[in-house]
């Protein structure tokens, strides 16, 4: 996660993405319009996860819960209550923030992996809730008839409209990520990712910062969920199942944890590669799993960020590298 080298990689990926979007708008390819919109929506949710995982170093499975709040919230507000679709985009985010605070406050105080485990349980529970709470969520059939956004009466519900809106929102999300990662908040996040104890000794309010990261993730997750609902014009429990959360993790790892363009690259990968691998049938998932492992082990900076630092000569302070030994062993 070296700030200096991000420039080239991020610029290339985002540049390529921009070119792809423009080209698609010009050529009017239906497939690419659809694919790129979906990529943008996944990427927005992944940017949220990237803040938690890539910046603050916190493992959180709560993204699908936030997406669920965004999606079902938008659906109920617009399809059921008939409110303006913009409310459907904005209001559920507040709900997501409230949930973030509710789970973060008690859970972030616990040491170890409790937060991760609790959010995993939350992810499973959210899925069950989506299926079971028929009155709230429409059960397995879901809610249909979710209207798209409109500006001054002009509906943005066309494929091109969705493409433009989703990429504008993605650009906003990336701008937020960019500004935060370079700010004192971003530095404090990265500090607590290494060592909360050291961060605390410097006066960094670790608990508050973890909550802040979760809140940012919640807003992005919720917005992604709302857009998804409007794009598909209906919501069903499927869109927040385990596969979705696993995909989000894949996106963040394959794209490059902590990198600005990571979610974009990763989303493109996750959305497009299955097509390429579809000939493998059931083996798709196994291949995916292996890919994830490989990325985590050998390419911590994602698909285009080979970690070649082990080739760089280490500064010689006349010592040979030795395996780590804990202080207790002294």
């Amino acid at each position: 996660m070296i700030r200096r080298t991000i420039g080239i990689r991020d610029a290339s990926v985002l540049g390529a993405a921009l070119v792809a979007v423009i080209a698609t708008l010009l050529t009017g390819s239906a497939y690419w319009t659809y694919a790129l919109t979906l990529i943008a929506i996944y990427a927005i949710a992944a940017v949220g996860l990237n803040v938690m995982l890539g910046l603050a170093g916190q493992v959180s499975f709560a993204q699908t819960t936030f997406m669920g709040i965004g999606g079902y919230g938008a659906a109920r507000l617009t399809a059921t209550l008939g409110w303006d679709p913009w409310w459907g985009l904005v209001l559920p985010a507040f709900g997501a923030v409230a949930v973030a605070v509710l789970i973060g406050l008690p859970l972030f105080r616990l040491r170890g992996h409790y937060f991760a485990m609790a959010t995993f349980a939350l992810a499973l529970g959210t899925n069950s809730l989506a299926v079971g709470a028929v009155l709230l969520t429409g059960g397995s059939t879901g809610i249909a008839g979710v209207p798209p956004l409109a500006i001054a009466g002009l509906s943005l519900g066309t494929p091109q409209g969705f493409l433009i809106v989703s990429w504008i929102v993605l650009a906003l999300a990336l701008a937020v990520f960019f500004v935060l990662s370079r700010s004192h908040i971003g530095r404090a996040w990265r500090a607590l990712a290494t060592s909360p104890d050291v961060a605390v000794s410097l006066g960094v309010p670790v608990l508050r910062l973890k909550l802040l990261a979760l809140i940012v993730a919640a807003v992005m997750g919720s917005v992604a969920g709302s857009l998804y609902a409007q794009f598909s014009s209906f919501v069903a429990p499927d869109f927040i199942n385990l596969v979705m959360i696993i995909n989000l993790f894949l996106i963040v790892f394959i794209g490059g944890r902590g990198m600005l363009s990571g979610p974009v690259l990763g989303a493109a990968f996750v959305a497009l590669i299955p097509q390429a691998l579809s000939f493998l049938g059931e083996w798709q998932n196994v291949v995916f799993f292996v890919l994830l492992l490989l990325f985590m082990l050998f390419l911590p900076r994602g698909a285009l960020g080979f970690d070649l630092s082990w080739l760089r000569p280490r500064p010689r302070d006349s010592s040979h590298p030795v395996p780590e030994r804990t202080e207790a062993a002294r």
């Binding site: 700030r3 200096r4 000794s201 960094v204 280490r314 500064p315």
Partner: protein, 264 residues
Amino acid sequence: MTSTTGAALTLDKVTKRFGGVVAVNDVSFSVAPGSIHGLIGPNGAGKSTLVSLISGYQRADGGTIRLDDVAITGVSPLRIALRGLARTFQAATPLQGMTVRENVEVGLHTTYTAGLARTLLRGPGVRREDRECRAATVELLARYGLTESADRLAADLPFGQLRFLEIARAIAREPRILLLDEPAAGLDQTETSALADLLRHVNGEGTTVLVIDHDVPFMFSLCHDVTVVNFGSVIASGVAAEVARDPVVRDAYLGSGSAGEETE
């Protein structure tokens, strides 16, 4: 850099047990404001535990610890840090994936007032705070000889410089008292000398310094006052020169000879 008023630290009958073992036994001593105080002892455990207790990472089973006149026993480490106590850790921890400059900038986190909204909006307020942070960092890096390595990854620094970075990071926000946990461990004679000079300078700016270390000559030449802890209890405390001559201290370190002394 503006001068700070050093804080006073008082320990009063502090005790800490781990299961059946008493690591810290009824320890009492005072650190005078603005002084350099050393904590030494022939064995390991008691001193490290004291550092954890003072900085709030562990809770004492008995006794009181006061920072100036405020009791900090049982207070969270974050609150103690915000009261003006800074510390370093035995294991020098460079913040991963961050440059030397960024490490120091994290030390200045408390100087920022901007929250999430103001940070995102990039208004004049937060931009000014960024400029001030940047300027303070440049000055600190220069003082600690880290200017050339400023944009290298902190993890790539040679060990001696890493120790200095840790101190720079800890005192960036001008704390009133600095607690150092074995800062000389792993340093050679030259580096230890430079460390002593550095700590004298930090103290000269007004910060009270409490050092824990095993290198006794280093401690006696650096500190105004020294407290000696043996098996968790204080066996001597006072002006360095006197403690150095105290036969009880000598005995704790060297044992008592039963035979007469042989000449060379």
